[in-house]
């Protein structure tokens, strides 16, 4: 039988395909640059804010990847994972567990709670295959009601709580819980190991260079990729070291290394799990439920596991988020979690059936740049800060709507194409 002819794709075509694929990302990139310019804020200030936002938001965004690969779309029900985390934090404060102990206790409580909620979410989503994205969104809203009931009535009235988390004379849990105090839970993770940005950059660069050399020598990485990675690391470091205006931007920004190490571990987890039996099942189920089923894979169970992992990770992500803020808005902190994380990963070029770590990181970065500067840019461009605020909400919902439409449009195109071939 003749060998298949592998045609080298036309360079122009490749660029065009890339543009089509990542159109949303490029639009956001352009908007970000424009808004940064028009915000009139010093870059140094923006940079340090973005670093903070990335450190507290990335983990949750990365928690979305596994369900996407398992074909369940964007798991907006991570909101429920966040709720579980808030229960954990509240209980930790209630029992006067402070500092790192408190944080770990909260994470410990979150694990079984979020896993159980994930099981319920997954069971429900298994009954509405094909509608998971919208289903999980509504489920998040629904769970909010149950959450309010739990915190307003059941805690305090039925399950007694200490005065650490309640207000004397009022019903339910206080609407703001403070993580500061002795010892402090505020930024307890971030403060474990915090270094100036330059130090972090040089350290990571050295690791990258050494790592790519090692991987190349072990024949696990191509020469091209190793050189590219090393060059990127060296050039970035040199820029910061030698160009004063660049150095000025990063000056004063500190990097919470421990938090980023956790984010890094999650990235590695997302990659490594796909190389296991379980990961192979996620991918198979994501691409074709019927084929997976025919080869003996328990489709529902696989999807359940994906959602459970995602919900637990999101819960931990919420703990990272709240320790960075220092206060827990008991009744609202979870509300926008699913929406913003979903929007962020879509901005990065992910779709309802494909997502990577890189897309999550890039999307999170662009989304938060816009978030940070949109108010000031709105004020300077339109003379009204409210327009910037409006723009924030507009982009979050807008990008999700675009993604949903694109998904339907693409799958229609695909089915048309396959129909014409026969």
């Amino acid at each position: 039988m003749a060998e298949l002819q592998t045609k080298r794709p036309d360079a122009m075509k490749a660029i065009k395909a890339n543009l089509q694929e990542y159109i949303v990302t490029y639009v956001f990139l352009a908007l970000s640059v424009l808004f940064v310019i028009y915000s009139g804020r010093p870059l140094n200030d923006i940079f340090s804010q973005i670093m903070g936002r990335l450190s507290r938001n990335l983990f949750i965004v990365l928690a979305l990847i596994i369900p996407i690969i398992a074909g369940m779309g964007i798991n907006f029900a991570i909101t429920i994972g966040a709720m579980a985390a808030q229960v954990g934090l509240m209980l930790a404060i209630n029992f006067e567990l402070r500092g790192m102990t408190g944080l770990l206790a909260a994470a410990g409580i979150t694990l079984p709670l979020a896993a159980f909620f994930g099981f319920l979410i997954g069971s429900l989503l298994n009954k509405m295959k094909g509608q998971e994205t919208i289903g999980s969104l509504i489920l998040g809203y629904f769970a909010n009601g149950a959450y309010q009931l739990l915190f307003l009535f059941i805690f305090g009235k039925i399950i007694p709580l200490s005065d650490k988390v309640t207000i004397i004379g009022a019903t339910g849990v206080a609407n703001t819980l403070n993580l500061m105090g002795e010892p402090d839970m505020y930024m307890v993770l971030d403060r474990v190991w915090s270094v100036p940005f330059t130090t972090a950059l040089y350290g990571v660069s050295i690791l990258l260079v050494l790592g790519s050399i090692a991987l190349y020598l072990l024949k696990k990485m191509s020469l091209k990729k190793a050189v590219a990675l090393s060059a990127l690391a060296v050039i970035t470091s040199l820029c910061v070291m030698l160009i004063p205006s660049v150095a000025q931007i990063v000056k004063g920004t500190r990097v919470p290394m421990a938090t980023f190490v956790l984010v890094g571990l999650l990235c590695v987890f997302n990659v490594v799990i796909m190389r296991t039996r379980l990961g192979q099942k996620f991918r198979a189920v994501g691409q074709s439920r019927s084929v997976a089923n025919a080869s003996g894979i328990n489709v529902n169970r696989t999807r359940l596991i994906a959602i459970m992992i995602s919900t637990v990770l999101a819960g931990w992500g919420q703990i990272i988020f709240i320790q960075n803020l220092g206060t827990l808005q008991t009744y609202s902190a979870h509300e926008m979690v699913g929406l913003y994380a979903g929007a962020a990963i879509l901005v990065g070029g992910a779709s309802l059936n494909r997502a990577t770590n890189t897309q999550a990181v890039v999307g999170c970065l662009l989304f938060h740049i816009l978030f940070t500067v949109s108010q000031d840019a709105g004020k300077n461009l339109f003379g009204n800060a409210n327009i910037g605020e409006f723009f924030r909400v507009f982009i979050a919902y807008g990008v999700i709507a675009v993604a949903l439409v694109m998904h339907t449009w693409r799958s229609n195109q695909a089915s048309k194409k396959s129909a014409l071939q026969t």
């Binding site: 060998e3 084929v291 129909a419």
Partner: protein
């Protein structure tokens, strides 16, 4: 051990109706055993029993005995069939496009080795051994004669290659002794099909038995060692290929002769000889029933039957001409060009159709009989409206009278014209569909599978109605049906469609073998030349 598989005296009922009666199938190791039969002959039920599909056990199991390599076995699930060394190459590809060939071949049977995490959390988390998997995949690919790299993504492969990947996957399962190929050549090009037959032969030479389900008689002659023919759930017979012929097999497949044939009276006046509908090079993209370049002339005033096996495109023809599915080609109705992909224009031109999908496309089930009957005519022709000043409003009286007339003429059994059509029996629903088509005053009527799912008495009435419409009003009718007997009883001519094209135009009293050959895509002329 003479036989690798014996299925002895298999009986199977679905509710009241027997779908398999005393069927016996015996397969020797290393032979290619063709299983031949029309749709509904019982081939798939027999295979479902062999694979222990849930549908069999949910409907009360079966009677009879299965022996694998001489040992009686009970197979309750496809997994158990797999353990007995019985594999299936599906007609629709069970492949994941985004995976490489290796990943597909090894799907859910991955080779993995333990790591730190998996020792704690179980073997689900073992790492995959891609090198070992690729090696196994290479071996099975080589044994089906495919040289393509095992790391290639399946998504971009030509259809023919996918079939080979499927086969490689079955072979990769250790201990395979019997492979079932379910219409494997249906989606292949001619040269791919030839290659496939070669591969099947080499698999058989290695000692694996093959059950080859097909309706292409040529391929049976070319590849099989033995053939077993089923008809209407019964065993017609088994033959060694050396001792049989195309014509004998075709006869065995159709073989009802004139028995039970209830031919209607010949028409009094001869046909005018004018062409009512001329179809040239029609291509219809209807999933599962695509038409690929069909030419057809329909004479004015005749009843033309369209037959053929399921999935060959006979249903695609009326749906394409009516504009219900994307189509291209040229269609002329009474010497006027008919635009395609435009249902409204088709209706306006005087075409009307009774759809095979009675409950889906045909009827608004919650609406009353009278509304269903009048709906199209109101929308397209503006009938049943009365002018009140500048407004046109629906005239309930006209609708009711017309519905009553139709109910009388077609003998629709109902309590009143206001009864919801969903509550009628299948036969009466079908008559409502016909009534609606007639309300359009069509010049040309398509009737697609008019007797599907309705009982025998109602069938006869529906057919009578069609004949009456034809004889009394001179309506030209094209009737599509899977039931050859039905076509032979009322049609003037019968067109057999195979693989999206006309395979033969036959007379109702043509011999069974001609019908059998045409259905498997061999035109009668071709056969005579041999």
């Amino acid at each position: 051990m003479d036989y690798i598989l014996e299925m002895n005296n298999i009986h199977k009922h679905y509710g009241e109706s027997a779908v398999l009666r005393d069927v016996t199938l015996k397969v020797r190791p290393g032979e290619i055993h063709a299983l031949l039969g029309e749709n509904g002959a019982g081939k798939s039920t027999l295979m479902n029993i062999l694979f222990g599909m849930p549908v069999i056990h949910a409907t009360g199991g079966f009677k009879g005995e299965i022996r694998v390599a001489g040992q009686p076995v009970e197979i309750h699930s496809p997994q158990e069939a797999m353990k007995q060394g019985i594999g299936m190459v599906h007609q629709e590809f069970m492949l994941i496009p985004g995976f490489s060939i290796t990943e597909n071949i090894k799907l859910n049977r991955e080779i993995s080795h333990p790591n730190l995490v998996s020792r704690v959390l179980g073997h689900e988390l073992e790492s995959l051994d891609h090198t070992a998997m690729a090696k196994d995949a290479r071996l099975s690919l080589d044994s089906v004669g495919v040289s393509i790299a095992e790391g290639t993504r399946v998504g971009g492969l030509p259809v023919g290659y996918m079939q080979f990947v499927e086969i490689a996957r079955e072979i990769d399962k250790r201990g395979v002794r019997l492979l079932v190929f379910d219409e494997p050549t249906a989606v292949l090009t001619e040269s791919e099909a030839e290659q496939l037959l070669k591969v099947m032969k080499s698999i058989a030479d290695s000692g694996i038995a093959i059950i080859f389900i097909t309706h292409r008689l040529n391929e049976v002659m070319a590849a099989a060692d033995t053939v077993t023919v089923l008809r209407d759930g019964g065993l017609v017979g088994s033959r060694a290929i050396r001792e049989t012929s195309l014509t004998e097999m075709a006869g065995m497949m159709i073989g009802r002769g004139d028995e039970g044939l209830n031919r209607v009276a010949q028409r009094q006046q001869p046909l005018s000889g004018k062409i009512a509908l001329k179809v040239r090079d029609l291509v219809v993209d209807m999933p599962g029933e695509s038409v690929r370049g069909l030419d057809l002339d329909v004479m004015e005033g005749e009843i033309l039957g369209i037959g053929g096996l399921a999935g060959q495109g006979k249903v695609g023809l009326p749906n394409g001409v009516m504009g219900l599915y994307p189509a291209r080609g040229s269609v002329t109705l009474f010497d006027e060009d008919l635009p395609l992909n435009a249902p409204r224009q088709a209706l306006e031109a005087g075409l009307s159709m009774v759809s095979e999908d009675r409950r889906g496309v045909g009827l608004l089930l919650d609406e009353s009989i009278e509304d269903n009957i009048s709906f199209n005519a109101m929308q397209i022709k503006g009938s049943f409206f009365t002018g009140v000043g500048p407004l046109k409003i629906r005239s309930a009286r006209q609708v009711r009278e017309h519905a009553k007339k139709m109910i009388r003429d077609l003998d629709i059994r109902c309590t009143s014209p206001a009864q919801a059509s969903g509550t009628l029996s299948g036969g009466n629903q079908q008559k409502v569909c016909i009534a609606r088509a007639l309300t359009m005053d069509p010049r040309f009527l398509f009737v697609s599978e008019p007797t599907r799912g309705i009982d025998i008495g109602a069938k006869a009435l529906v057919l009578e109605t069609l004949v009456k419409l034809n004889r009394e009003y001179g309506l030209t009718i094209v009737m599509v049906s899977s039931e050859l007997m039905e076509l032979r009883s009322i049609c003037d001519r019968i067109v057999i469609v195979a693989e999206g094209r006309v395979a033969g135009i036959l007379q109702p009293d043509s011999p069974d073998t001609d019908f059998g050959l045409a259905m498997s895509g061999i035109s009668t002329q071709e056969e005579q030349q041999r």
